[in-house]
């Protein structure tokens, strides 16, 4: 269980505003990529987001290109989870493969404002916010295992002894 400050966004937020395409070939280090997170959506986030902050969004978060940096820009800022009414499928895959928990929770976005605190317990599977409790749908064990390992590559490295 942990407490998080939230940043709240609407429907159909695309990967271009999560991580602008103009940087895809020029910015390579995780720190540089993270420094541009949400630049074209919410400059306040880009300036002020702190590690542990969580994104809460509406439908189809992460639509657009398959750009992996649209996930690493947020993991690089220390975002531990994104909670959305629904995710673009490619974005959902990228999240899991990079070890970021995409939490599907259609109702939450209606009940919180940017700056609110929420309580998140992914182990027990609930979010507590605005005096209510929202369930988190469980992930299949195989997907849970990828997240627990920190992503696809670390999971494979644990299994096959690679890395480091």
């Amino acid at each position: 269980m942990s407490q998080h400050c939230v940043w709240v966004y609407g429907d159909h937020v695309n990967t271009d505003v999560i991580f602008p395409g103009k940087y895809t070939y020029t910015l390579k280090s995780p720190e540089e990529i993270a420094s541009k997170a949400l630049e074209d959506l919410d400059p306040a986030f880009t300036r002020e987001a702190r590690p542990g902050d969580v994104i809460v969004a509406g439908r189809n978060w992460g639509c657009g290109s398959s750009r992996e940096q649209a996930v690493t820009a947020l993991t690089g800022r220390g975002v531990p989870a994104i909670i959305a009414a629904s995710f673009n499928g490619l974005y959902f895959r990228n999240c899991i493969n990079q070890g970021l928990h995409p939490i599907v929770c259609p109702a939450l976005v209606e009940h919180v404002r940017t700056g609110d605190e929420i309580e998140l317990d992914t182990a027990r599977g609930y979010i507590r916010a605005a005096g209510r409790v929202f369930p988190i749908p469980p992930l299949p064990p195989s997907v849970r295992a990828i997240l627990d390992a920190g992503g696809l590559m670390p999971m494979l490295q644990v299994r096959f002894g690679g890395g480091r």
């Binding site: 398959s66 490619l90 959902f92 992930l139 299949p140 494979l156 299994r159 690679g162 890395g163």
Partner: protein, 418 residues
Amino acid sequence: MTAYTFAEKVLARAAGVSAARAGDVLDVQPDIIFSHDNSAAIRRIFLQTGAQRIARPGRVAITLDHAVPAPTTAHAQNHAEIRAWVREQGIGHFYEVGRGICHQVLSEEAVVLPGEVILGADSHSTHFGWLGAFGMGVGRTEMAALWATGVLWMQVPESMRITLNGRPRPGVTAKDIALHIIGRWGADGGQYRSVEFAGDTLAHFTLDERPVLPNMMAEFGAQNAYMPPDQTVFDALEARRTRDYTPIYPDADAIYAQDETIDAAALEPVIALPDAPDNVVPLREALGQPVQQAFLGTCTNGRYADLEAAARVLEGRRIAIRLIVIPASAEVYARAAASGVLTTLVAAGAAIGTPGCGPCMGNHMGIPAPNEATISSANRNFRGRMGTPDAPVYLANPYVVAASAITGCISDPQEFLS
């Protein structure tokens, strides 16, 4: 609720579960996985995992096609690394330089069959929907994971059904229908969906024409595409298949996230203007635009019927600009040589290249100069796609490509098809 889409059925089968619904996450064991010139890069990621042996080498295919024959020393080293890897790992299906483009070759060789799942490290893996298989593109890390484990987690996509009715008018090909769909609903109209085709128009497509629609659904954002396979498809696979298979059809009352119908008989020829495949207008609006190069080939429109279509337009004529023809495979090449189609093309002034991707993604064999426009039978015309940023690319069907090569501007092929 016992009705299922194609995607729900085929992924349940490949995951070994009794049933699945859109949104379910499954551990899918694909029947075939493949990559191409990118296999050397995937190998390096694979080795980072610590794995040493490919889990199911008999189900792995590798085709050298994206830059063949090697245009530089670096490409040659890349190919050499892949050949050594194929030998070391005992990879079951390996196709050398000159055999052709991955999607075409694996189709000809019946490496994948109706009702199966094929995952490729190439975005146009949606191609295999032509034979009723589930084809999807994956990233390099995902392909390395597939090599290592043989399994990949997947979320069952929602499905969009597109019913095509009627016989297309002369000059309207599967390419025009694909471009029409992408233009109408946009480049993300099929985002992360299974695009499932239906309707009587499909029966009017030749075998060579069928892959065009699922191939181009990559430009629609689709995760995969599907056409219900019929006897023509089964017959085409029969001589070479090495496994039994069970075709899969969606249930008539399956639930679709979107259900659209197109009157294919009412469509006219179209063209995609630079710089996006969804920048589609009627051909008549683009007539007269000057072009300096014409390119006939690719996994979209480099098959025998496409070369034959161009030959019909070019028979007894001379081209005014350069026309580069790259057969999609060695088999296409041999057939066009035997039938005289190649002779017609060469007599008209065409330059014929080694089967493979050719200049499609700007590797070699037909890179345009700055400000030179190309009319192409390919599937993608993003800025810089053919290797030069300020070199616009138009996408059209093979008839239009050939007609434009005669005149040096975008032209209506009907003038040459009396």
